[in-house]
């Protein structure tokens, strides 16, 4: 079995593309991503991953931190992080 090929690799540093941002919706108590003329809810591990993006830290670094924070195996965290970040990069919500 081969792993899925992701557009995002561990060495990359990502940030939100202009016009996109993560924010906590206080009224509905959910995390959302604001985007041009829409907003979408992000759930589960996603807000924890996205709040660490600053355009400087590598994805590998972020995976490491989350593995410690959530006391989970690194490869499990890596799979989720790379899948989410790749999807949002392909949608131009994030850029490398």
């Amino acid at each position: 079995m081969t792993d899925v090929q992701h557009v995002v690799v561990e060495g990359a540093a990502l940030s939100f593309a202009r016009g996109h941002r993560l924010q906590h919706d206080r009224v509905r108590d959910v995390w959302i991503v604001q985007a041009p003329e829409k907003a979408f809810v992000v759930e589960g591990a996603a807000p924890h991953i996205l709040r660490l993006l600053d355009g400087k830290r590598s994805v590998g670094d972020i995976i490491q931190q989350l593995a410690i924070e959530f006391s989970a195996p690194r490869e499990v965290i890596a799979k989720d992080v790379l899948a989410l970040l790749s999807e949002l990069t392909e949608k131009n919500v994030l850029h490398i």
Binding site: R18, Q23, D25, R28, E37
Partner: protein, 353 residues
Amino acid sequence: MTLPSPPMSLLAELTHRCPLSCPYCSNPLELERKAAELDTATWTAVLEQAAELGVLQVHFSGGEPMARPDLVELVSVARRLNLYSNLITSGVLLDEPKLEVLDRAGLDHIQLSFQDVTEAGAERIGGLKGAQARKVAAARLIRASGIPMTLNFVVHRENVARIPEMFALARELGAGRVEIAHTQYYGWGLKNRDALLPSREQLEESTRAVEAERAKGGLSIDYVTPDYHADRPKPCMGGWGQRFVNVTPSGRVLPCHAAEIIPDVSFPNVKDVTLSEIWNISPLFNMFRGTDWMPEPCRSCERKERDWGGCRCQALALTGNAANTDPVCSLSPFHNLVEQAGSQKTEFVYRGR
């Protein structure tokens, strides 16, 4: 009593003043005057109340919102409140210094309108000489600033054949998104319907042009169809009083920008009542909220929570009663009114000319 879900979006119509005079303008037939416009402090309070209520995005619109000297200040307020700010503009008043201060104030996105791709077509609709060149210049400035940009084209019988050129212009100008919106027939649009409504063949051709462009990729496309040629109505505003709130230049609060034509109800004003009270308990916002108000054929329809009975303003304008099923629906007893629409009129009635 449980409160309704909070609104997602606020359409802040800062002014009805505009250098253009398009015959499908979404402003009401009775334009509000400059002297009646809310002041900066009141708009600031409106934004604060909107954020408190749960609004996530504010669309600064008009008229031409850049005609208001306090636009930059209001964008800063939106930024401070973590509201996503969108400027809906014709671009004809935009220059580099103005864009720079808007950018610094934290403007998130710009929706720039074009009336056509040709100068003649644009001037016939907008009525402002030289507007097209100013819009192209505005688009280049926005592109250079890095602020994400959507180009908006309202299409109708006279320009619908040029949709492929509209996409080409959007790509040339570096817009990330394009909105191709068929004219909606309320207010000015309804007044000019017989000169604007495309034929069914033109509609089909426009849909093919949009699909062909989508297949190319690289451009995010919003396509709004004219519901006159549809069998089922659109979920107007995502349902009355469910997602969207509109504040007019003088502070009236509406469930949609055309709602002032609804008779026998009072229109609450932010100068008298808070936005939250208006959203939650005003008779206007509860009038057509949910499904309890629905007549047949909506009441027993399986689609009633998908299209919410369509558009109340269209029902009123065409059938005389806002509580009727939207006549666009083929199940409506008034559907023939929609089928008969569209003769070959060619004269426009313009606002403010």
